[in-house]
């Protein structure tokens, strides 16, 4: 059965107040076409769970976010994400700030239907101070260690972007790092996969080995073909990060950037990106 749908259909399936996980890492292989579709939608009041990059920044800038759950928000080559900074410094979003390893354990717990997983990461730091709901758990064994019980990062919907997928939702990464996209898919009630290209199932192994098949269709509710859909984040080996565009996003005039690139649909965005490239 084909699960092919459009980015706007994905955004239209979201409800205000939902918890949304977003795959990738920093400014790498982010499902930006799906994020842009959310910017165009009426949904709001989201809790966004992400190893954060411009996905988080854009959603904050458009007033879509009530709470960010993240260990960082960065654009890698530009360390600080300007739109997230503004949201934090003006107090317009709430923040659940975890250590990177804690965050991974939250994803792992959710993916395996566990209420929590124990870890040392976070002990002694102010992560405990700023998350007063965090609890510790004592080992029942002779060591008696007291560890942080990282609560499962369950989510209503996960959004991930991969290089290839078939129509049924088997999704493949071809770059150097899977990030945590499979865990997001398993941690969510529904996962939507956008991809550079939809291919026939028989063609999946033409570009990568079996172990590049990161996400099984059992975890996928919908597949969207969005060429250049991670832009301006990286999607190796299909394309690298668009550093010049990222600089324009981070340091250029924000209102002009919005007007030029984010006032139309995805086709208009890609056309404006192309036009910029030709200049």
């Amino acid at each position: 059965m084909s699960k092919e749908m459009t980015a706007d259909e994905v955004a239209g399936s979201l409800r205000s107040g939902m918890t949304i996980g977003i795959g990738g890492w920093g400014s790498r292989r982010k499902p930006m076409a799906l994020v842009r579709a959310i910017l165009r939608s009426s949904v709001t009041d989201l809790t966004v769970v992400s190893y954060g990059g411009p996905d988080v920044g854009l959603l904050c800038a458009y007033g879509k976010v009530r709470r960010v759950v993240a260990p960082f928000v960065t654009m890698d080559s530009i360390p600080l994400e300007p739109r997230f900074r503004i949201a934090r410094q003006t107090g317009t979003v709430e923040f659940t700030e975890y250590d990177e390893g804690m965050f991974m354990f939250g994803l792992l717990a959710a993916a395996h239907r566990l209420p929590f997983l124990p870890t040392r990461a976070g002990l002694g730091s102010d992560v405990m101070r700023v998350n007063p709901d965090l609890r510790t758990v004592r080992s029942p064994y002779a060591d008696g260690e007291e560890l942080i019980a990282v609560p499962a990062l369950t989510m209503d919907v996960a959004l991930v972007h991969l290089n290839r997928a078939d129509r049924r939702g088997n999704a493949q990464y071809l770059g150097p790092d899977p990030y945590f996209d499979d865990l997001y898919a398993k941690a969510a009630d529904r996962c939507y996969v956008s991809c550079e290209r939809i291919v026939d199932t028989t063609d999946l192994l033409k570009e990568g080995p079996p172990q590049s098949l990161l996400i099984s269709r059992a975890f996928v509710a919908g597949v969207v073909e969005t060429p250049n859909g991670a832009h301006f984040t990286s999607c190796e080996p299909d394309y690298g990060r668009d550093e010049a565009f990222q600089r324009a996003y981070a340091t250029g005039d924000w209102d002009a950037f919005r007007a030029r690139y984010l006032s139309g649909d995805e086709a208009a965005y890609q056309e404006a990106v192309n036009e910029r490239g030709r200049q």
């Binding site: 954060g52 260990p71 960082f72 934090r88 390893g101 990461a121 002694g124 008696g144 150097p176």
Partner: protein, 248 residues
């Protein structure tokens, strides 16, 4: 020989004796060069990365791809490795206090920061699970503060107060700056001046540090790299990126 050469050598020396573990340099050219210089000279079993997710069989210059790949370390494996502990990381810090607590999260009150920085990233887990050192390219009283605004990396006092699970693998090694090398005294875990770089006085260091340091009676000078080490550095960093990173 420049100040940057001394700093890179001091960073490399942080990995002395580490053996067959991953040396992770986070925070620019100087820490990466430190790991690679250590591996190419006195610590040949050290494992170094391409700065992304590959463990390199050879030791390429900055910004060049390795010719030999000996392992794969995507983010998930790197985060597991942090917990495993067979790793020594050299982190950066926007603020650091006398016990080695560091902040990369935000400046001002966390509830509504004056300046939102990166977030805690992996600093909490790194510092309680792995050997950790720091590289501070600009040693000033803005960085060396009496109290950090948001404890991201865990220092000696906080690790001890948080109990066995926090301190059993806590292993804060040294802090290298553009002025000096600092470590921690063995009794109270307070920051101690270990050496000053050539041309830097003890007074220069104390004037740029916002808390009292433990100062031994005799503060040695940081060792300078030998000709063999300088030759390695010139091969690893022909464009001299290290010089741009180090404040004079």
């Amino acid at each position: 020989m420049s100040r940057a050469d001394v700093c890179v050598t001091a960073c490399a020396d942080a990995f002395r004796g580490d053996g067959e573990i991953v040396a992770a340099g986070i925070g620019g050219a100087v820490t990466i060069l430190g790991t690679r210089l250590a591996r190419l000279t006195f610590e040949p079993d050290l494992i170094t990365t391409d700065g992304v997710c590959l463990l390199t069989g050879d030791v390429p210059p900055l910004n060049e791809a390795p010719e030999v790949i000996e392992g794969w370390l995507p983010f998930r494996e790197h985060l597991w490795l942090v917990l495993n502990g067979r790793r020594h990381v050299m982190l950066g810090a926007s603020q650091i206090d006398r016990h080695g607590n560091t902040n990369i999260s935000c400046i001002g009150p966390w509830e509504r920061p004056i300046s939102q920085l990166l977030g805690v990233r992996g600093a909490p887990g790194n510092t309680v699970c792995c050997a950790t050192s720091y590289w501070i390219p600009k040693h000033t009283t803005r960085v060396f503060v009496p109290r950090v605004d948001m404890v991201s990396g865990v220092g000696h006092d906080r690790a001890a107060a948080a109990g066995l699970s926090a301190y059993r693998h806590h292993d804060l090694r040294r802090v290298v700056t553009n002025l000096c090398v600092l470590d921690f005294d063995s009794t109270g875990g307070s920051m101690r001046l270990a050496s000053v770089h050539p041309g830097v006085s003890v007074a220069d260091v104390t004037a740029n540090t916002g808390f009292p340091l433990v100062i031994p009676d005799d503060v040695p000078e940081t060792r300078t790299p030998g000709d063999d080490e300088l030759a390695v550095l010139d091969r690893l960093d022909p464009a001299g990126q290290r010089h741009k990173e180090v404040a004079a």
